[in-house]
């Protein structure tokens, strides 16, 4: 589907669903994942249908992923950083449980 040009060095790494992915400094998360052969980025909250980037310019919001624990990040608008943990976004965003609220209950 996509291929990196030879002079576009991929020399930083991050993870997607626990797997290591290499990227070039300055890549967006979306570009790096597409270059690595990823097809589906997320499941929609309405029907669970698979989706991937459509516009790559921040308009369509179809590239939403979870980055370092924060859901609904636009993969095409976020630059890759070494060690970044990216996960597929499944349906509705999960709220992290708050320890304070638990002790209160």
């Amino acid at each position: 589907m996509f291929r990196r040009l030879e002079d576009a060095r991929a020399d930083i790494s991050f993870s997607f669903e626990g797997r290591e992915v290499t990227a070039r400094p300055g890549d967006s998360v979306a570009a790096a994942l597409l270059a690595a052969g990823l097809r589906s980025f997320r499941a929609t909250p309405v029907s669970g249908a698979p989706r991937a980037p459509w516009c790559m310019m921040g308009a369509c919001f179809d590239c939403l992923v979870e980055i370092d624990g924060v859901a609904s990040r636009q993969a095409c608008m976020t630059q890759v950083a070494p060690g970044m943990r990216v996960r597929r976004q499944r349906g509705a965003k999960a709220l992290e449980s708050d320890p304070a609220a638990e002790t209160a209950a």
Binding site: P45, A92, L95, D98, A104
Partner: protein
């Protein structure tokens, strides 16, 4: 060309649609004029709270009767309106606020009502586990809930049409005269003649009243709402603030609706309004404080709608003081949505029977003039 009907209803919000429906059910022919579209303003864009909790004592009998109608809303309008009984709970963050709630609970009980129940800290956190740990108790109405405001108002409009009401949207009433027991009303589309006139004009209700020679001190306001992207279910009842302005609820699709009193900027002439993010910052701070789990939730949309409030925060509801055959129902002061069903029933009583079984004296249109004359007499 002149259209005729027994009753002309001016204003196609929930009060007007409910009135038109229930008047038509009594066998009258009805025309409804709406200057924009049905549900365009406050009725379509409010928070959707179906609440008896913390109502003004004058409103309690009406609100309680209205709730009975909500419980069989599908029988009335043929749609479920997204109505859910979720409970509504007012949260006290301090002992002083809790004392206020306690006094309130006692007052409501003394009037003979049992729908508001004081709950302590343990029960509060059982009902709303996600609440920040500093709260001390609450006042709950377990039978209260919420509905989808736009779908509800549209359902009332559709039911009215099915009951034979002729609904004209984008038609503005411009002049009112009563001659020989008949109302002659000018509109942007032509003349209407009707025996009875019902003013459910919402924020524009005072304009109509002024044309009948009975001006009232109505203030246009623009309550604001914020909605977040869907999050997993974490709060069942509608949560309202006591010491700060907040109304907080999670919709069935998971999105969280945040409202509760901070106001945007109304533009009555332009028939629009705009949000004021400086005040939404305060709403966000309130939410982040009361529900720490919400800090990462994304605000996807905010909006405001044009509503009106009266100086005493209860509506004008009852007969005109200057004209025969005219009735008012407006100025619900940002909590009229739940009252929609009963308001229609009351207006139907007034038109059909010439009076209502509900205690309407507190809502009389003359009350502001009485106060003014008392003040003017040096009281």
């Amino acid at each position: 060309m002149t259209l005729t009907a027994d009753v002309l209803v001016v204003g196609g919000g929930i009060q007007g649609c409910s009135a038109a429906l229930q008047i038509a059910q009594r066998g009258f022919s009805v025309i409804l004029l709406e200057k924009n579209g049905v549900g365009r303003h406050a009725s379509g864009v409010n928070a959707g709270g179906v609440r008896r909790l913390l109502r003004d004592p004058a409103e309690i009998p009406l609100s309680v009767a209205s709730m009975e109608m909500w419980l069989r809303i599908e029988d009335l309008v043929g749609a479920d309106c997204g109505f859910k009984v979720s409970g509504q709970v007012a949260v006290a963050e301090t002992e002083a606020e809790f004392a206020t709630l306690r006094a309130r609970a006692e007052m409501v009980a003394s009037l003979g009502y049992a729908h508001e129940e004081l709950i302590g800290r343990d029960e509060l956190y059982r009902v709303v586990p996600a609440l920040a740990p500093h709260c001390v108790g609450g006042l709950i109405a377990r039978g209260d809930g919420f509905a989808s405001p736009y779908h509800t108002t549209m359902a009332f409009g559709a039911a009215a049409r099915r009951a034979g009401v002729r609904v004209f949207e984008e038609v503005r009433a411009t002049g009112f005269a009563r001659r020989a027991g008949v109302w002659h009303v000018d509109s942007s589309a032509g003349k209407v003649e009707a025996k009875f006139l019902v003013n459910t004009g919402g924020a524009w209700g005072a304009t109509v009243a002024a044309m009948l020679g009975e001006p009232v001190p109505l203030e246009a306001i623009a309550p604001m709402m914020m909605v977040t992207a869907p999050v997993p279910p974490f709060v069942e009842p509608v949560v309202i603030g006591v010491g700060r302005k907040l109304s907080f609820k999670q919709a069935p699709n998971g999105s969280v609706l945040i409202g509760g009193g901070h106001r945007g900027v109304p533009d009555l002439a332009g028939e629009t309004s705009s949000v004021d993010f400086r005040k939404l910052v305060i709403s966000a701070q309130t939410v982040a404080t009361l529900f720490p789990v919400m800090r990462d939730a994304q605000i996807v949309r905010t909006w405001s709608g044009i509503e009106s409030r009266m100086p005493d925060d209860i509506p004008v509801l009852g007969p005109s003081s200057t004209e025969e055959g005219a009735f008012h129902a407006f100025g619900f002061s940002a909590h009229g949505f739940q009252m929609g069903p009963v308001t229609g029933a009351i207006l139907a009583e007034l038109v059909a029977d010439g009076g209502s079984n509900f205690p309407l004296a507190p809502f009389r249109i003359t009350r502001f003039r009485e106060n003014a004359s008392v003040a003017a007499s040096g009281q």
